[in-house]
Point group: C2
Chain length 101, copies 2
């Protein structure tokens, strides 16, 4: 991953514009050049929406440096039976980068 | 995109195992080395789930060669008012590749 050590923003269930603002704040105020946007499961498409809004509406000098997809096993407990079983959850890491002028 | 010209499989609303079988069939029967898996909007996380099932459960010699994300504007018509407006839809293209023995 080219974004090793860059600040991370994890996409959850909040309104997408919250994450857009968080990314812009990190890139502008903290003066960093790269940010990693991470998401799992159903939030994956929201992560891509967020990146696309940043790139097309607010920061046209931001480009996608790297995209990694993967998955890992998690243990889930069935609330009815109390049985535990493993389930695979997909994930995405998107590294975005400010282009140098 | 490294998968230029490779067969495409578009992920929609069918059960995920349909797409897993389609990918395996293409890779094994058609004797191709690369396949592109494409999805838009809410099907994006299903595309990653599909690729992860192929890689972890069925074809351990398959690796992810490239991932591209993007978006494009589409025109949607409001069914109540009949007004047309443009909306941005995110997309993903995942290129998978058989590793050579």
């Amino acid at each position: 991953m080219v974004c090793e050590g860059a600040p991370e923003i994890r996409i959850g269930k909040k309104p997408i514009m919250n994450y857009v603002v968080a990314i812009l704040t990190t890139l502008i105020e903290q003066g960093v050049n790269r940010v990693v946007i991470k998401a799992r499961g159903r939030n994956i498409n929201r992560a891509i929406d967020t990146v696309e809004i940043v790139r097309h509406r607010f920061a046209k000098n931001v480009k996608i440096a790297d995209v990694q997809i993967g998955s890992h096993e998690i243990n889930v407990t069935d609330p009815n039976t109390g049985q535990s079983r493993s389930r695979r959850v997909s994930s995405i890491d998107i590294c975005i980068e400010k282009e140098q002028e």
